[in-house]
Chain length 400, copies 2
């Protein structure tokens, strides 16, 4: 039945680790294969900041995502469809994912996405009205009122044309009560079912739909949501919404959710992408991750480095803005074979950042993308060779 | 005698056109050969906006320049020397040029460089004092007082380590009286002689010094200055300072100057780089050009195009910010083989500009750099095949 809905997609699990739930697999899409575990890079407005498709490929990227919320507002889904869909628009011929737009609708407007969902602030005032039908929100571009419903989200994602698409849900923030979270969850499930119906109505076999597990930090709600998603004909499962305000809570929520979610479907963890987080996620059975983290820190001078080059054991990147790098003629990481480490010294990158040169963004983003892809490749290789735990130790991750 | 001063440099003229003074030659430097006529791209702060050295090479760039003024203030010449010189610092192994710092000292501070020198405003107040010794100016970064003299300019350029370096002069703006221009010119000649002395004192054979012809729009002063430069042991000759407020005046000043300057030395025209300007310059015997124009317009959405794609016969670029490109799925130029035209549509570039994505800068800069390099290659090929005049007609340039 699922293969009828998604004729051009398959998820294969090649191997599952004995000691954990970590698994080595692949997602087959019409635009190529994603070897898993994999990291998906954020190209919010149909561009991974500063990187051309050629550079993304050079950095061994498998899959990118774009945000439906941003693209529906500008340039608009119709425009993207008219010029041949997102792949042609971006010049990226590999697999692509779009989210439903829900996360940004509920979190953008006045402040950063992460602040909202990670428990640092109250719900944004960009949401004007939530009803059974959908959400009325204010555009972040011009403040105009827009509506998004499960049906329009799927129609927009159809026009945009990514390979992997996501059902529309309500993304409840950290500060919500249990009662509100449960009520929103029930509505989200109804919205996700409507998303499925809308998906089926125009299905051309070129897209695969992911269902999203919500439920905030409430373990029984996560279980309920995992059950709903597993029992519905989604191609993949995603874990969304708030996972807690601190790492330990987040890992616990993911673990409790995965207890009820693990199956033959690929599982995507939305918006999580620290190095330690990825090791924990993989060990719990997560197949794909996405996060703005590697590309966002790049824009602020942060370069991901191996343990041996860290300033502080728990800090996963170094900040090249620091004056101590001003005359450091070594590359970010002498063992890294990315174009940035092959060409540029820390001194030059420090200078570019200080001079606010655009090349700093391109060069550091390229390094971080390459770093994440190499990390995922190392994880996949370790899973193949039954030495994932050893790799975790190498990276000093002991939360497993 | 010159070959003793510049043992690793040579300028060869292979062919001079019969109908004009246009010539096909090459400048041999320790970091490679510059085939002339050539365009030199501005990497003000040791970076051509958004382009890595690999992309610059891919766009067939021969030579870049960096500005001594900017680099002496940040990161500082000592830092560049410590990390191995400008070539290593930038990761660019081809020929490089630095200017003397004079142009920016006299024009930066409060407003754009071009405004000052092209007659649109009075002398900047960043200059605090001009004396026989040199110039005291305010740093554009922090307002601190700095001094630059012929000797320090050459010492700084020595530390930076470009192949081609420029003597220190006073760059008089358009609004100067004839009397002031003449007085400044005489002092510039004394400064240039001191530059030569400073150059000789530490000459290691790895750099070649250009003398600069000043004299504003006054033809007899240009003649006097051309004579001084020709009679001094400079490797190359540059035409600097204000050339007038309108194109016709500029072409006339260049022509009058070239009447007295033409010789076996390479001639560089400082800061001029429109398409029509280049055809006129080449026909008058100019060998190399530099200008921020191609890279600056790129940052504002301007893409250089052939005559057939222009919006208006006299407008050398199209503006991709225009709404009419929003759904245009063709590349900037279907005949262009640059990476941008191979990968991206006008619609996508329009979107990137509107979304203020960094990739817009990289992609458009790459196109414009490639465009200029292809134009110069076409000019060189036409000179070789004795059809330069035909190429001028093709580009509808009739000022020759």
């Amino acid at each position: 039945m699922l293969s009828a809905l998604y004729p051009e997609f398959r998820f294969l699990v090649r191997k599952t680790e004995a000691a954990t739930r970590a698994r080595r697999g692949c997602i087959i899409t019409p635009h190529g294969v994603i070897e898993t575990p994999a990291f998906i890079f954020c190209g919010t407005k149909a561009s991974v900041k500063g990187l051309s498709p050629a550079l993304l490929k050079e950095a061994e990227t498998q899959c990118c995502l774009a945000n439906t919320y941003h693209l529906m507002l500008q340039p608009g889904a119709d425009t993207i469809q008219k010029v041949g869909g997102l792949h042609a628009f971006m010049g990226w011929n590999g697999p692509l994912l779009t989210d439903s737009g829900g996360f940004q609708v509920f979190s953008l407007g006045y402040g950063s996405v992460a602040d909202e969902i990670k428990g640092r602030r109250q719900r944004s005032s960009s949401v004007q009205q939530i009803s059974e039908k959908g959400v009325v929100f204010k555009s972040y571009l011009d403040g105009s009122l827009r509506e998004i419903t499960p049906e329009t989200s799927i129609q927009i994602q159809r026009k945009i044309g990514a390979d992997l698409v996501v059902a529309f849900d309500e993304c409840t923030p950290y500060h919500c009560s249990r009662a509100y979270t449960e009520q929103a969850l029930e509505r989200s499930h109804r919205w996700e079912t409507r998303s499925l119906d809308a998906f089926k109505a125009y299905n051309d076999g070129k897209q695969a739909l992911y269902g999203v597990v919500q439920g905030g930090v409430y373990v029984d709600l996560r279980e309920k949501s995992a059950r709903y998603v597993k029992e519905s004909p989604f191609f993949g499962h995603a874990i969304g919404g708030t996972l807690g305000a601190i790492k330990e809570e987040m890992y616990r929520v993911i673990e409790m959710t995965m207890n009820h979610l693990i199956s033959a479907h690929p599982v995507h963890l939305l918006g999580i992408g620290g190095i330690r987080d990825i090791f924990v996620g993989v060990s719990l059975g997560i197949d794909t991750f996405d996060c703005v983290h590697p590309t966002r820190i790049a824009r602020h001078g942060g370069a991901l480095v191996p343990i041996s080059l860290r300033d502080h054991p728990a800090r996963e990147h170094i900040s090249l803005k620091r004056a101590s790098y001003a005359e450091d003629s070594s590359p970010i990481d002498p063992t890294c074979s990315c174009a940035t480490c092959q060409q540029f010294s820390r001194a030059y990158l420090h200078h570019l950042l200080k001079a606010r040169e655009v090349l700093a963004i391109t060069a550091l983003t390229l390094h971080n993308v390459f770093f994440m892809n190499r990390l995922m490749e190392d994880i996949r290789a370790a899973l193949e060779k039954n030495c994932f735990t050893k790799l975790c130790h190498k990276w000093q991750v002991s939360d497993l």
